[in-house]
């Protein structure tokens, strides 16, 4: 059985991590920010490795974005 997507709090210092994400985008144009996000997703997806976890994450991320 593969691991399920972690949906309980897992960041030791949530405010710090969140601030890291915001800080990374500071001073970037929209195009640069988009590139940063895409690279980050690819890096993290590879780190996770498990496509089932990725699928679950995509489902959660997509929730409520479309009517269907």
């Amino acid at each position: 059985m593969t691991d399920a997507l972690t949906l309980t709090p897992n960041l030791a210092k949530p405010d710090d991590s969140y601030a890291l994400l915001l800080a990374a985008h500071e001073g970037l144009t929209k195009a640069q920010s988009d590139a940063l996000n895409a690279r980050l997703i690819l890096l993290l997806a590879n780190h996770i490795g498990d496509s089932q976890v990725l699928k679950q994450a995509l489902t959660e991320a997509k929730r409520g974005l479309r009517d269907d």
Partner: protein, 535 residues
């Protein structure tokens, strides 16, 4: 000097069939003398089935079109007698370079596995392959084989009469009618036969245009595949440079959707584009230029009664991955032995429906791969471009991103997993690559290579195991080939895995029907019946 593609190789000659009343009835007529039709006809003639090939034209493919031919194609071509001609003339290549913007992001080596008679890929102009196939037809004719080619014979109408098909053929001397027990339609992506029979051909058109040019130049670019994403000389688009024999280079330049095709094809517009890419000081000559819009589509099914479609007429892919002609040759490889059994009365016509199921699945696999490559090369939305560019940027520094770069997943043969012709896998510990349904990988033997020894029929291959000297079942003869692994590590690795001995039943198209850790007569007899559709 005339190029081979300008010389009529099978010029029109009036045939007695044109005056026959009632119309002549043939065993098999192949329409189309492209690589697929020629391969089908040669395969039939080699197994003694009389065949007539009709083509609208009388020359090989105008300009190069396909250039990249995979190992499996060379193996099939070897059985047809042209594998070595192709491999000897072809340019072998292993290294590819990927560029993004103005920089090289990485290079790769296909690192072909040792112990195969043929290389992973060769580059060779399509007209050479067709020329070798026509030469082979001539050689077969000289040996008295029942194979005939008729140039300037354009098929304008086909009708299926249940136990035969009738064709109307236009010639310079007017029309005539032919009848045939079986018709193989290899009349290309635009298949007039498919259109005239009102059959569907559904899929995706990629809204993009590609300028494809073959240029002759004396340049010292290495024999490598160079692919550019968004290069400075073709902003926002892609480009490809690949070497062919005779100092000919293939160049693909993506042009986008809203262009004037006729204008773009004119040398005064093509030459500056090529100069921007190659540099002002490189001397070159244009051999052939064309503009393509790529599509991925296939027929709902390939067999329609007495009419069977193969190659581009049945399915079309974008060229990224070189899956067009390569998969077309696997079609005929799959079809011809089945048709021969049906013609000989050894198998029921329903065996031909497994050509459909096996090759439909293969077509879907090829379409999936080539659509994904096309989506990577020409992103369809802003976000897909952002991800694509992120992959390319990361690939410069990180190995993990390189497998995500997709400039074409090069053609590999399909495994017929789940085919009803397969019997159970009874070889515990056997390698996955030689499971039932898989194409046999080649292996070096004391003299020569394994695939060359499999011949054109069913083979019982034994490795460190006792087997009878062939057997006969349901009218079909199975020959045997007994090998040991004493000096053959590749054989052990590819066919035994963790097992110590094995027996394989191999189909005429060199796909595995079943395998077992010993020879058990009832198992193999049942497997043979199953492989010819009798169980």
């Amino acid at each position: 000097m005339n190029k081979i593609f300008e010389v009529p190789l099978y010029p029109y000659a009036r045939h007695a069939d044109q005056d026959a009343h009632p119309p002549a009835r043939h065993k098999v007529v192949v329409v189309g003398a492209g690589p697929v039709g020629l391969a089908a006809a040669i395969d039939l003639a080699q197994s003694g089935v009389p065949v007539v090939v009709l083509d609208d034209n009388d020359k090989v493919s105008f300009g190069s079109r396909a250039i990249c031919f995979a190992k499996r194609t060379l193996e099939i071509a070897d059985r047809l007698g042209v594998g070595h001609a192709m491999a000897n003339k072809g340019e072998e290549w292993n290294v590819g370079k990927v560029f993004f913007g103005d920089r090289k992001v990485y290079d790769f080596n296909l690192l072909p596995e040792d112990g195969h008679q043929f290389p992973a890929f060769v580059n060779l102009q399509q007209y050479y392959i067709e020329e070798y196939l026509v030469d082979r037809v001539r050689a077969l004719q000289a040996e008295g084989a029942p194979i005939e080619m008729r140039g300037k014979n354009r098929v304008t109408n086909v009708s299926d009469h249940g136990d035969y098909a009738a064709l109307t053929v236009e010639t310079p001397d007017g029309a005539y009618t032919l009848e045939t027990e079986w018709l193989i339609a290899c009349d290309g992506a635009g298949s007039p036969i498919r259109a005239q029979m009102g059959l569907d051909f559904v899929g995706r058109v990629f809204e993009d245009n590609f300028l494809i040019a073959d240029v002759v130049m004396d340049a010292d670019f290495p024999t490598e595949r160079w692919f550019w994403f968004d290069p400075p000389f073709n902003k926002g688009q892609s480009a490809l440079l690949h070497k062919q024999p005779d100092g000919v280079w293939r160049i693909d330049l993506q042009l986008g959707w809203d262009i004037d095709k006729e204008a773009e094809k004119k040398p005064e517009n093509v030459i500056p584009r090529l100069k921007a890419m190659l540099g002002d000081d490189v001397q070159f000559e244009l051999e052939w230029v064309s503009i393509y819009t790529f599509q991925c589509r296939r027929m709902e099914k390939f067999r329609h009664g007495r009419v069977i479609f193969a190659g581009d007429s049945a399915h079309q892919v974008s060229p990224f991955g070189a899956r067009g002609a390569n998969s077309g040759l696997q079609d005929t490889d799959n079809l011809i032995w089945k048709l021969k059994l049906v013609l000989d009365g050894d198998a029921d016509q329903s065996l031909l429906d497994t050509y459909d199921t096996e090759r439909l699945a293969a077509a879907d696999e090829n379409i999936l791969n080539s659509s994904r490559s096309t989506d990577f090369i020409t992103p369809k939305s802003e976000m897909s471009r952002i991800f694509r560019d992120a992959v390319l940027d990361l690939s410069e520094h990180h190995g993990f991103a390189r497998p995500l770069v997709n400039s074409g997943r090069l053609s590999v043969p399909s495994v017929y997993d789940g085919s009803r012709l397969n019997s159970a896998d009874q070889l515990p510990g056997g390698p996955a690559r030689t499971r039932p349904g898989a194409p046999c990988p080649d292996v070096p033997l004391d003299a020569g290579y394994l695939l060359a020894q499999l011949g054109g029929g069913f083979t019982l291959l034994s490795i460190n195991a006792e087997v009878p000297d062939g057997f006969e079942e349901a009218g079909v003869t199975v020959s045997s080939l007994a090998l040991t692994t004493e000096t053959h590590t590749a054989l052990a690795e590819r066919y035994l895995g963790d097992a110590t001995c094995a027996v394989y039943l191999i189909r005429p198209d060199q796909h595995v029907a079943t395998r077992m850790d010993r020879f058990d007569a009832p198992h193999f007899r049942a497997a043979l019946r199953r492989a010819i559709g009798k169980e």
